[in-house]
């Protein structure tokens, strides 16, 4: 099989996830897009590992081992990420990323005091 097929599919999936991360507003949809990006990397790792296990004399199967590690880390990441999103939702009543601007530097920020943070919370 041509190596270009999995590589191109992986690149396209990564860029789809990139668009989702940049364009989505709900935090859980952003997490879904991050999953797409991680899966694109996994496909690349598996394809290159299968290619190298034929091309090289001796291989450690590092691509597949790293894919398993990436899957496990993605599971941990989705658990922690959802816990954080739920905590934010309990505190703020929204999971909309565009409205969580407490730490953003706006153009009208007068100082690092608490008034800017309170204003941002009032608008949120």
């Amino acid at each position: 099989m041509h190596l270009v097929y999995p590589a191109v599919l992986s690149a396209l999936l990564f860029c789809t996830g990139l668009y989702g991360v940049l364009a989505r507003r709900n935090a859980i949809l952003v997490l879904m897009s991050v999953e797409l990006m991680l899966n694109a990397v996994n496909l690349n790792l598996v394809a290159f590992d299968v290619w190298l296990s034929r091309a090289a004399e001796e291989t450690l199967h590092s691509g597949q081992a790293l894919t398993l590690f990436t899957i496990a880390i993605a599971a941990a990441e989705i658990g922690i990420g959802l816990a954080i999103v739920l905590a934010v939702y309990r505190n703020r009543g929204t999971s909309d990323i565009d409205k969580l601007r407490d730490t953003a530097e706006g153009p009208e920020t007068e100082g690092p005091d608490t008034s800017a943070a309170e204003k941002a919370e009032a608008t949120a």
């Binding site: 099989m1 190596l3 270009v4 859980i28 949809l29 879904m32 496909l43 993605a74 739920l86």
Partner: protein
């Protein structure tokens, strides 16, 4: 695709390649729908299609163990976690008009530029490279297990510690918010009371 046939055409249609191409098109389409649909639950369900398609791609690449791990962990648990998250944050069922942020055109430009650059570079680099799929499977359970427990034991064990830490961290994160709500501290007294999901009457 034997070793003897050293020169291949640029697009020699073999059965596995056609299958890979079709499943890849379905996977890419499902991923596109996942990031563009306005119905949040449908996005999670289309993500199942994309991840399942990737599992089929792993099977076509003879990485069986990875494929079943993908089905078990991603389709089985990650998507279920995402659906739980959607329901616990009272995501509106039906079309939500503000699923996309205001900077979606900039995001589209960035994604298209990145896709163009990446595809160009990858095609230019691996135009003449072929995967030989004949012979024993490169990713059967036996091969993967032997490599994992001979060469990768220490990272494997460290990963189990990481999973434990993530588990404890998730529990701590969810319990701490409950404790804050129970104590009713003055720092969280000015949080908005009206939840957006309740006003829309979604459920």
């Amino acid at each position: 695709m034997s070793l003897a046939a050293a020169q291949h055409g640029f697009l020699s249609p073999a059965g596995v390649e056609i299958a890979f191409l079709l499943v890849g098109l379905a996977t890419f389409g499902a991923a596109l729908v996942t990031v563009t649909t306005r119905q949040l639950v449908h996005a999670a369900l289309w993500l199942v299609v994309a991840l399942g398609g990737l599992a089929v791609e792993y099977l076509l690449l003879t990485a069986e163990f990875i494929a079943w791990v993908q089905v078990l962990i991603y389709v089985g648990s990650v998507v279920v976690l995402l659906l739980f998250g959607l329901m616990l944050t009272k995501a509106p069922i039906g079309r939500s008009p503000d699923a996309d942020s205001g900077n979606r055109w900039a995001a589209l430009a960035v994604a298209v530029a990145a896709a163009g650059a990446l595809v160009w570079v990858v095609v230019d680099a691996f135009r003449t490279t072929w995967i030989d799929l004949k012979g024993p499977a490169a990713g059967s359970t036996r091969v993967t297990g032997e490599s994992l427990f001979q060469n990768w034991v220490l990272p494997f064990e460290a990963l189990s510690v990481l999973l434990l830490a993530a588990l404890v961290g998730a529990i701590v994160l969810s319990r701490k918010a409950k404790a804050d709500e129970a104590f009713g501290t003055s720092a969280t007294a000015d949080t908005p009371v009206a939840l957006p999901g309740e006003k829309e009457g979604a459920r």
